[in-house]
Symmetry: C2
Subunit: 420 residues, 2 copies
């Protein structure tokens, strides 16, 4: 049986043809079948999930009506452990819920369990495999969320992005990933890596589901994805690292740009102004300076329980001078204004979601740089599944919207998705 | 005996004429004497403080050499409860240390205890009184930190500012308060109210102590406060709410501007451009929108344990439309650029630290608006003690520096302080 989207399940529950309990049981069955291979879950308590589903059925209300939701394991839940994929936090349980969890519960979501993250949403990987081919990474750091949504364990999941931790794994696993405009979603109860970059993001199998969960996290009424909008003006932005994309990805993007133009969209080439060609170095400086201080407690009180990979990054972060950090912050502010200005004449930017398909092996979760650019810009981003690459694994195309115009981005993405 | 500053105590400890243990005992004696009236401490464990002091004496190292530090009770400590002045959190203890605590311990500070905060660093007050007159508020929300530093309980303390929660209580209590440039200090482990505004700040009795603790929190070598700088160019910024300041404060500022000009400083009047005259409304929109979502867990799971005062504010926050929030964020970005531009020709801005002396009674912690402006601007700010007002309570003058030029602000403030 095909897994239902959240929107489909909500409609069926509201129509009385499905109960939240039955739907959650279907999802739990799918997990039981697939988890030995996919390994998407850091914590799963079927009884607790079913109890929530029964309560949602009894309440017979809420935007999410008992729909199950996967939660990246750096996001606090008062009734489940939050492990951060770190021996430091193994088995610890937070006192409260993260704000996004509290708001989801208020909409009668079922908090299904905690999905595998890389260590502290950084690089050191967890055990999750790509559901399309277990010999490949699902991407990271929101590895389990992407794999669980792709594999039909849950229709919705939370991830977070500091570099490319939502859009990249979503693209690798062939689902829709969404990073909102910086600042709109609360980060309370989410382990902080870089306060200037960290963004809560969403994963689902459709744009309509993304819009639904966005409304829940904003504590606002859902804004339906419009499909009657004007033909969009699209900027094809190869970014300064275009040459680092693999051939199949470059071809996908060129083909997509051409075919969208053929369907009537305005498509123009867009480049960053020269001062911003090295913007990824500024992202790295900010991430290094902030993360080594933000992880001070782990680094100083439990150095033996931090992976060599992370400790190396934190140590390098200490080498970023304050002056370099400040210069990067000033450059980032100018970059945000520059990217904003690109939207004076455009509705959306088109660029790769990742350099290519999910790399082989699960040790390396892939290159985040096609996403880090936009995390720094603070723009809303969506990745849409767009076929497969040379190895038969999913490829995505990334659409970037103007800051604070997230609803418009989702509607423009729907226009594009209908023509992919 | 006059209480030592941190700089004095470090020097004496390094010279071998004082031990950290003896110094901490002096501070504990002072607390024992005064706490029944001042009520600055939410949690104090003298044995734990002395154990830390002995360890610091044994280590004989670190920038802070066993100097005791007061910690606002919304900042996590792994070995003491963090109560947030809320029945929701009474007696709860965090798993880890806040980053600023971990970095302070790394410098061999003694974490003396937790200082009284208003409920969640919002408005609902704690029991702390003004050490200069117990019938008056010490200000808030960092009430206990300001009172403890002013009254000689500790030479250093952490506070936080979302509106005016560091600069105002510091001014009311007659100490030096400092809010750094937004983004430089880690906020990990500090209860989040508004991610666009919350700033960790410092309180001490001298600028040298501020510079010392700033270095510790940045994990960088101390930058001494320079006293050999050029005569500063000062902008006298009355702000759009000048008429709301009390007469003695307006007179203090006018007199200060005149006397600094008389000592050779360039002093010019500075005003915000007209689009920013209502900037406080944008601060309020951002604070309302963010705080009601950031406190979702408290508001939704424990509504009966949230004060009526806070719940009222959070409910009003839900009325701020997303569009209003976005407009406020765009205005804030333009305001930051505008304030930055004021420093093309100036070194520092001079303005009130608060509308006047500490109000009578402890129910109302005072008006934060002279600070909220600069919290939104992201600029570094210092308040310096500057005599007393009509009721005999401390008044302060606030100096505002260019974003990311905190060291320069502290040195300019020293120039000003020498002439007050």
């Amino acid at each position: 049986m095909k897994a239902l989207t959240a929107t489909e399940a909500v409609a069926a529950i509201e129509a009385g043809t499905l109960t939240a309990e039955a739907h959650v049981r279907q999802c739990l069955d799918r997990i039981a079948e697939r988890e030995p291979v996919v390994k998407a879950w850091a914590h799963l308590d079927p009884e607790l999930a079913l109890a929530q589903a029964k309560a949602a059925d009894a309440a017979s209300a809420g935007v999410l009506r008992g729909i199950p939701l996967g939660v990246k394991d750096i996001i606090d839940t008062h009734d489940m452990p939050t492990g951060h994929n770190s021996p430091i936090f193994a088995g610890t349980q937070s006192f409260g819920d993260a704000a996004c969890i509290a708001l989801s519960r208020d909409a009668n979501a079922v908090i299904m369990g905690k999905t595998v993250t890389t260590e502290f949403a950084n690089r050191h990987p967890g055990p999750t495999t790509n559901p399309h081919n277990a010999a490949h990474t699902p991407g990271g750091s929101s590895s389990g969320s992407a794999a669980a949504v792709a594999d039909g364990h849950v229709p919705l999941a939370f991830g977070t992005q500091t570099g490319g931790s939502v859009i990249r794994p979503a693209a690798y696993c062939g689902v829709v990933g969404y990073k909102p405009s910086f600042g709109e979603f609360s980060r309370v109860g989410i382990k902080m890596q870089c306060h200037s970059l960290d963004t809560l993001g969403l994963m689902a199998r459709t744009l309509d589901d993304i819009a639904l969960l966005r409304a829940v996290v904003l504590a606002l009424p859902p804004v339906p994805v419009r499909r009657d909008g004007a033909t969009p003006r699209i900027g094809f932005c190869r970014t300064p690292i275009w040459d680092d994309a693999e051939a199949d990805t470059r071809e996908l993007l060129e083909r997509t740009a051409s075919s969208l133009a053929a369907t009537g969209a305005t498509v123009v080439d867009v480049s960053f102004a020269p001062p911003f060609h090295g913007i990824l170095e500024d992202h790295a400086a900010i991430m290094g300076f902030e993360s080594t201080r933000n992880y001070a407690d782990e680094r100083l009180r439990n150095p033996d329980k931090v992976s060599a990979e992370l400790m190396d990054g934190l140590t390098r972060g200490l080498d970023v001078p304050l002056e370099r950090y400040v210069a990067a912050q000033r450059k980032a502010a100018a970059f945000k204004a520059h990217v904003d200005s690109l939207f004076d004449e455009l509705d959306v930017l088109l660029c790769p979601s990742a350099p290519g398909e999910a790399p082989k092996g699960i040790e390396f979760t892939g290159d985040p740089r096609f996403n880090s650019i936009w995390t720094l810009a603070g723009t809303p981003c969506v990745t849409l599944p767009a076929g497969t690459g040379d190895m038969g694994l999913p490829l995505g195309v990334q659409l970037v919207g103007c800051r604070y115009e997230d609803d418009k981005l989702l509607s423009t993405a729907a226009w594009v998705a209908a023509r992919l």
